[in-house]
């Protein structure tokens, strides 16, 4: 009996992993379901806690669509109650995870900070921010490989898209990181910074949302585990700052399923 319960428990844990592997087969292709645009989708919820106690610090949910050309759009909404921050974000990347556009609307401890639309065309990033600080425009030259840090954690795995696949090697990339402090005089525009990370290796990780085949990285001091194909964050911990972000709910499907 105990063996059966253990087997059932293992099967339940493995189900999301098996499901995810099945949908991870195709990068691009024709839609096989009723909607001609969507190849597959995933959605989930994260809990933000401290590592040591643990104490509730907030939560986040996301929904990602993968389209027939391999591009992805990620809707994110977070409630970082520990800092009285609430961010609403959509980020669209191409099939190589290079940012195409982002929209964000930030509420911080002192109130509404602003909304920003970011567009990327070839080597030019243009951003327009509107809020209490007024209307601000920004134009930057960006490299072929870079990512946008909008601050919800769901898309933080996309910072690692340039991974060479070599375990243990220090790697660098660039991040356009958004200003998100409580200072309302500073518009939510970004600065282009260096980013360092190291691939630790492939690991099977079990979290409240299920068991996932992941790649483990050291991302500038944070330990992160992301799924292989869509680079979805499964867990991020930072011992120095006593932070833990863990996937607590996860669902995914092909376009064939009408109800998301």
């Amino acid at each position: 009996m105990r063996h059966l319960i253990k087997t059932a428990y293992r099967t339940a844990l493995m189900a999301p992993l098996l499901l995810w592997s099945a949908f991870a087969a195709a990068q691009t292709g024709d839609s096989e379901g009723p909607n001609t645009n969507i190849l597959r989708w995933a959605s989930g919820t994260y809990a933000y806690t401290t590592l040591t106690e643990p104490r509730d610090r907030g939560w986040e949910r996301f929904h990602m669509n993968v389209y027939t050309d391999g591009s992805r759009a990620m809707n994110m909404w977070h409630d970082l109650s520990a800092r009285d921050a609430q961010f609403t974000v959509i980020l669209r990347v191409n099939d190589a995870f290079r940012p195409q556009e982002a929209f964000l609307s930030y509420w911080v401890a002192n109130g509404f900070k602003g909304s920003t639309l970011i567009r990327v065309e070839d080597a030019t990033l243009s951003a327009s921010a509107n809020g209490p600080a007024g209307l601000h425009n920004q134009t930057l030259t960006v490299p072929a490989t870079f990512s946008i840090g909008t601050h919800p954690v769901s898309a933080d795995g996309w910072h690692l898209a340039s991974d060479s696949g070599e375990n243990g090697a220090e790697q660098t990339s660039k991040i356009y990181s958004l200003e998100a402090s409580a200072d309302l005089t500073k518009p939510p525009l970004g600065t282009l910074r260096d980013l360092t990370f190291k691939r630790i290796g492939e690991e099977t990780l079990t979290v409240p949302a299920g068991t996932f085949e992941t790649i483990h990285y050291d991302l500038s001091g944070s330990q992160v585990w992301v799924t292989k194909q869509d680079r979805l964050m499964v867990r991020m911990i930072n011992e120095r700052f006593d932070r833990d972000y863990v996937l607590t709910e996860f669902a995914s499907g092909s376009n064939g399923e009408k109800i998301e």
Partner: protein, 244 residues
């Protein structure tokens, strides 16, 4: 070590130190729900919509939605922000039509001016135009259509003008996603009880031009049902969660 500290700070605002745990002062209340897009005559489901509403302490509201209308080949992401009185502040939208990305746009309203900037497969397009005080946006999720009634005078009753900036649902041709302003008649029919798979609600029943029936509930004007008889469409709220 200092460099690492700086990068970590940039990476995740969420991991910056905080003084004390508290409720989030920026979220007065929230709601989330789903619609099924059905045929009125057969009940067949041809699409879905999921939405999440945040009401902020100054009364402004942010609605994040995504929908898919399978028979037409549409999939959209829309974020719509309105003032305390539901007048539009901004819309951002991403449209996919029949397997092609058709555009990503920002539509910002400052006073009587609407400024649109839309990135399309054919390049950037911009639009600046005046808008009246009483108007709303139709970015094409259904959930925000209920907000089109915000300035209707119930005490006066009868048919009243409802002006909308209606974005091109198919994002066709060179004017991709840009909208047209027009006015229709809106009439309050009465208050009713309505039951859907999401629950039973006391709703305000509005009619638009005798062709659309909208049923709306609560202080956040949540759409419960939208019937469009000539198009054989029935949009029904199938789930709802709320919180403070």
């Amino acid at each position: 070590m200092k460099r690492r500290f700086a990068i970590v700070g940039l990476l995740a605002f969420a991991i910056m130190p905080f003084s004390a745990f508290a409720e989030n002062i920026n979220i007065t209340r929230w709601a989330k729900g789903e619609f099924e897009y059905r045929s009125l005559s057969t009940g067949e489901v041809s699409g879905t919509e999921a939405w999440h509403l945040t009401v902020h302490p100054d009364g402004t509201r942010t609605m994040q939605t995504r929908n898919r209308l399978d028979e037409a080949g549409y999939q959209r992401h829309v974020t719509y922000r309105v003032a305390k009185n539901f007048r539009p502040l901004e819309v951002t939208s991403v449209y996919w039509v029949k397997g092609e990305w058709r555009g990503t746009g920002l539509f910002a309203i400052n006073g009587d001016t609407l400024e649109a900037i839309v990135k399309t497969p054919d390049g950037m397009i911009r639009q600046t135009r005046s808008v009246p005080e009483n108007f709303s946006m139709i970015p094409h999720p259904l959930s925000t259509n209920a907000w089109n009634t915000w300035y209707y005078d119930k005490a006066k009753g009868g048919a009243q003008p409802m002006t909308v900036y209606d974005m091109d649902a198919g994002a066709q041709a060179v004017s991709s996603m840009l909208g047209k302003v027009y006015t229709q008649d809106l009439e309050f029919i009465g208050t009713e009880k309505m039951t859907t798979p999401a629950g039973t609600f006391e709703v305000d029943h509005f009619q638009v031009e005798d062709v659309v029936d909208m049923y709306i509930t609560g202080p956040d004007a949540i759409l419960v049902r939208f019937k469009w008889i000539p198009a054989d469409r029935d949009y029904v709220l199938t789930s709802l969660e709320t919180g403070s």
